[in-house]
């Protein structure tokens, strides 16, 4: 496996990056390269140019910004996993980041790269969905914001235009919510066979609000709306959890593969959701 020839740019600013990408039709952003480079080595992608965002300092780091965290698109998974602000305000994001790939991947791969690639079994899409994050995007036409719920469209398909680049991910601070990400990894790839991201606000015995996002199960990560509706405002009981588990993947075209059939994935999605909710409910 080796790479073919391509042009390589390493801009120092976002403006320069946008200019360089615009200059070569078909140019791709390099945002860690943990998925793009393997595709190129397998001759499944053959971009004429890579614009490496690693030198754009503005795109790295985590800051508090009003009631939200602003996470630079080029922030590496390893940094997210250990960042104190993320741990305090969006522990779900830290948990998901800590389970991406292996240590090497976590030190190269970035949140922007992972979201833009939109692997159907990646971890971070579930995290940003469950956290109601907003994805900030720049292009030669200017800047815009895409809510996470509108971002993932299909396998490796997102709401990004070809010349868009993710600048940051804005995550609402939800310190009061109980958050968790639980993944059942594929034994070879490490990607989620099922990944459940949940953020739940408990008020006494009731669920004040619940957000549940699922990855690995369908063509893209999704919010389990029916399950959330069942939970909201209700007293947590065994019966409720069982019902919630049964509808986690409802309305989805659940996929199967050699390792886990659609039936089994559907079962795991329900079971895992139930286990995550039980654990969150008893926390603290």
């Amino acid at each position: 496996m080796m790479l073919g020839a391509f042009q390589y740019e390493r801009p120092a600013s976002l403006d320069e990056a946008l200019r360089q990408a615009a200059a070569v039709p078909g140019a791709r952003w390099l945002a860690g390269g943990m998925s793009l480079l393997p595709l190129m080595k397998m001759e499944l992608a053959d971009p004429p140019a890579l614009v490496d965002l690693a030198g754009v300092a503005d795109l790295v780091g985590v800051q508090e910004d009003g009631g939200a965290l602003r996470v630079g698109a080029m922030t590496r998974h390893a940094e997210l996993a250990e960042h104190p602000l993320v741990a305090r305000h969006a522990p779900l994001l830290a948990a998901a980041a800590s389970q991406v790939g292996d240590p090497q991947v976590r030190h190269r791969g970035t949140i922007g790269g992972s979201l833009a690639h939109a692997d159907p079994a990646a971890d971070l899409p579930a995290a940003v969905l469950a956290l109601d994050a907003t994805i900030e995007v720049a292009s030669p036409r200017g800047r815009r914001e895409i809510p996470a719920k509108d971002f993932f469209l299909g396998p490796l398909m997102t709401a990004l235009e070809p010349d868009d680049v993710i600048v940051a991910v804005v995550v609402p601070q939800r310190g009061a919510h109980r958050q968790a990400y639980h993944k059942r990894p594929h034994p070879a790839s490490g990607y989620a066979v099922v990944g459940i991201a949940a953020s739940v606000l408990r008020e006494a015995d009731r669920v004040a609000s619940a957000a549940i996002a699922v990855t690995g199960v369908a063509s893209h990560a999704f919010r389990a709306r029916r399950a959330e509706e069942l939970l909201t405002g209700q007293v947590m009981t065994d019966a409720l959890l069982a019902e919630v588990a049964s509808v986690v993947a409802s309305g989805q075209e659940v996929w199967g593969d050699l390792y886990a059939s659609a039936d089994y994935r559907r079962h795991l999605a329900g079971l895992t959701t139930r286990q995550v909710l039980e654990r969150l409910w008893d926390d603290r």
Binding site: G4, P187, S189, T237, L271, Q275, E278, D282
Partner: protein, 809 residues
């Protein structure tokens, strides 16, 4: 002239965990692997491989590809027809009705598996070669493919090779007379039968295959650096295929990054690279990539075994019948026919004294990657089926599996023991290994914990496997009798230099097993010199006189045997010289701790190094003694070696997910005396992990069209360290009485024992649900489905495990 003398050491190094001397080199990037070899002016080769499992080649058009700047040559099968002999099969078991077929180095008219070679591009750079490969236009006419033995043996199935009816490559029988087997089965009080599927595995050494070839036209001489477990076998086969004189072929395999059997075979690739180097007059380099490795390098296992085991209600086993269909892939790889026959069928009774036993094997061609030796090669398959059936038998008669084993193990006073297939186990104390294992794990206490766990809805299981392996391959007369097209003896040369330093040239070809260290330990003890004064050299046919390589757990048993005999000869000669120097009778002179001394007069002594110097100076040697100090030996073992042991595992199965968690793994092995316990321990642990891999995670899968669905490390699950429990190891020590060092071999034992141990443990955990056998790998879904089905079938409330995960609100 002075020597620093071999610093004598007091304590013997045999039995010491001396750190591996090869590690500093290998772990700091200073190894010399084939991919590290670069020759001046070299070209780069890439292979174009078939994307179809079965297709006729209507045309292979290379015109456009040849236009790519830097392309030196493009070879196709049609061009090479008649210029390269077929890739050989080197094991032809007698009576196997072997349907040998041509295996062209590049497919000429038909491709027979995904990965079959179609063309080779040779270019000035790898990039140019790849670019040109993409431009080769192949017109394939896809044909129907068969991937499983069941499909392939259907009379109407597509044929892999014209003229091979039913795709049957071989049909072989061994053991008791079929009528006697039938009678014994009929007469038995109890019979258990099972269909055992042993899925196809894909060996994945850290280093993929590679070859660099350089041809000297003036001398008609080929030098081939190649990832080989057996350079001298490669010399023989490559010379034959290319029509070169054997003495003008040099094979170098200095450092090899693991093989597990997959680097025994002579592959088309290295032959093609050598051909191109000769044809183009420039060195040619080829390095396999990992994805290519998945289809182009031999696979392992892939059996369907119909097994019947019979016995009495008191637990005595009386008869065994095995009928096997072994998938051999599209071509018969170098050793392939011997693996599911000789290395499998002759030891199907395992360590048990079963008076009547027979195996019948069909080897079958399919449109898949050729199958050949993989760590254990035949013996894991044999062990798996008998170990599963013994558990089924124990369950059938309501006896603990440990007790059934104890009752049937060949007793220590029965050795040498000849089994129903006519092979003779050299030595063993099987029950002692079992008892040792049980000292570490109290089965009674476990059964109580298991019952407690069951009441909480938890599924916990204990697996046991008692095994014996036939290895240390082997007596050359037997090699001949079973159709192996080579000898299985081994060669060693011990050369003592004038300064007393020692060079050892061995015909084995270690590629991770650590013989550079263990052989030096043997030499150091015998000659009394220091480790740093000894160099162990291997892996170069120009350096090493002869050898048959490393596989079949033979290196220390057979290669060490040769070394031991050669050392005896060196010492004999040195002692004569020492006696001459000391003016003593040879019979009165003994070598101890690096010094020859006259018995009873310890002051009258001469160091080994001084003797070496005097041997080389030859100023004054005894009558009839030649100058110099070296000796060689060819050791042809009188029998195989038979290591054995008992492995135990404790697992827990999550009834909600079907996932198996390993809680304990305990291995008691007996490989005879351990030269280096640390290295032995490493071999055992590595082997166990590979065996667990088959039980739980690994498995190649093809779709109906013959596409490999598990063609990368993203799909094919190799074991990960974090899934493994701490592995506890212990050893008993029963020497091989016929071996000069008493050693038996340990490279494959872990793999052989671990697979049934784990599957037996999982089945024990599921036994309360009425589940007694599942196919491997025991993936969570497979186990979960079995639990679902068992619960659906069981009367309400009867299933052993309740709903898992206590609920809270």
């Amino acid at each position: 002239m002075s020597t620093d003398g071999g610093a004598a050491h007091a304590a013997p190094l045999m039995g010491q965990s001396v750190p591996r001397r090869e590690d500093a080199r290998l772990l700091t990037g200073h190894g010399h692997y084939t991919a590290d070899v670069n020759r001046p002016g070299q070209l780069y080769a890439v292979m174009l491989r078939s994307p179809h499992a079965h297709a006729r080649l209507r045309a292979v058009r290379t015109d456009a590809a040849r236009q790519v700047p830097g392309v030196a040559a493009i070879y196709t099968g049609a061009q090479l027809a008649g210029r390269i002999a077929p890739i050989p099969t080197a094991w032809i078991p007698p009576g196997s009705e072997l349907a040998l077929t041509d295996h062209p180095a590049l497919a000429d008219t038909t491709v027979r598996y995904v990965g079959d070679g179609v063309a080779m591009v040779v270019a000035e750079s790898l990039a140019a070669a790849r670019q040109a490969r993409a431009l080769i236009d192949v017109d394939y006419e896809p044909l129907g493919a068969v991937t499983s033995v069941a499909e392939a043996m259907d009379p109407d199935a597509p044929r892999v090779h014209e003229g091979v009816a039913g795709n049957v490559a071989l049909h072989w029988r061994a053991g008791s007379d079929p009528a006697a087997v039938e009678r014994a089965l009929q007469d038995a009080e109890v019979r258990v039968r099972e269909t055992i599927r042993q899925q196809r595995l894909i060996p994945n050494p850290m280093e993929p295959r590679a070859a660099v070839a350089e041809f000297d036209a003036a001398d008609e001489a080929l030098t081939l650096w190649v990832t080989s477990q057996n350079p001298h076998i490669h010399r023989l086969l490559v010379a034959g295929v290319l029509g070169l004189a054997e003495h003008r072929v040099r094979i170098i395999a200095q450092d090899v990054g693991g093989g597990f059997g997959s680097k025994i075979a002579c592959y088309p690739d290295e032959v093609l690279v050598a051909f191109a180097a000769r044809d183009l007059g420039r060195p040619v380099k080829w390095v396999e990539d990992r994805r290519e490795h998945f289809t182009a390098t031999t696979h392992g296992r892939d059996h369907v075994d119909e097994v019947v085991l019979a016995g009495r209600r008191d637990g005595t086993l009386t008869a065994l019948a095995v009928r096997t269909q072994a998938n051999l892939g599209a071509y018969l790889s170098t050793a392939a026919p011997g693996v599911p026959t000789i290395l499998f069928g002759l030891i199907a009774n395992g360590p048990y004294d079963i008076p009547v036993a027979a195996t019948e094997v069909y080897g079958v061609y399919t449109h898949t990657t050729p199958v050949d030796a993989y760590r254990g090669a035949g013996r894991p398959e044999a062990t798996f089926l008998i170990e599963r059936l013994v558990d089924r038998f124990a369950h059938e008669i309501g006896m603990d599996p440990v007790e059934v084993r104890r009752k049937n193990l060949v007793r220590a006073d029965r050795f040498p023991y000849t089994n129903a297939f006519g092979i003779t186990y050299d030595s063993g104390r099987y029950e002692e290994a079992l008892d040792r294992a049980l000292e570490h794990l109290d089965v009674g206490a476990f059964r109580r914990e298991q019952a407690d766990a069951a009441r909480q809805g938890r599924l916990v299981g204990l697996g046991v496997s008692t095994y014996v392996e036939m290895c240390g391959l082997g007596p050359s007369e037997v090699a001949g009798a079973v159709g192996f097209q080579g000898g299985l003896w081994e060669h060693a040369l011990v050369r003592v230099l004038p300064t007393g330093k020692v060079m050892v040239m061995t015909g084995i070809s270690p590629h991770g097993q650590g013989e550079e260290t263990t052989f030096a330990q043997v030499v150091a003890d015998r000659l009394g010199c220091a480790m740093q004064d000894i160099e162990v050299l291997h892996g170069d046919t120009q350096l090493v006189s002869m050898g048959w390589g490393t596989y079949g757990s033979r290196s220390t048993a057979v290669g060490g045997g040769a070394l031991s005999v050669a050392l005896d000869r060196v010492v004999d000669k040195a002692r004569k010289i020492a006696a001459h120097v000391l003016e003593a009778d040879v019979a009165d002179v003994a070598l101890e701790a690096g010094r020859f001394a006259v018995r009873g007069v310890p002051d009258r002594a001469v160091s080994f190094a001084d003797v070496a110097q005097k041997a080389h100076l030859a100023w004054s040697l005894p009558e009839g003694v030649e100058p110099g100090l070296e000796a060689e030996a060819s050791y042809n073992p009188s029998n195989f070696t038979y290591p054995f042991g008992t492995h135990l595992a404790v697992v827990e199965v999550d009834p909600d997910t079907g996932e198996t968690t390993l809680q304990r793994y305990l291995a008691v092995d007996d490989c005879g005396p351990r030269i280096n316990p640390m290295i032995v321990d490493g071999q055992v642990r590595g082997g166990i992990v590979q065996g667990i891999g088959q039980a739980l995670w690994e498995g190649a899968a093809y779709d109906a069209q013959g596409q490999l669905l598990t063609g990368s490390l993203m799909d094919y699950a190799l074991p990960k360290a974090r899934w493994l429990p701490p592995i506890e190891t212990d050893f008993t020590e029963t020497p091989a009485p016929h071996n000069p060092l008493g050693v038996k071999g340990v490279g494959e034992t872990g793999t052989i024992a671990a697979t049934p141990t784990i599957v037996n443990a999982v089945m024990d955990a599921l036994g309360s649900l009425g589940i007694h056998h599942l196919d491997m790998p025991l993936t969570p879904e497979r186990v979960w489905r079995a639990i679902q089905d068992a619960r659906a079938a069981a009367p309400l409330g009867a299933a052993g495990a309740g709903e898992g995960g206590g609920m809270r609100s």
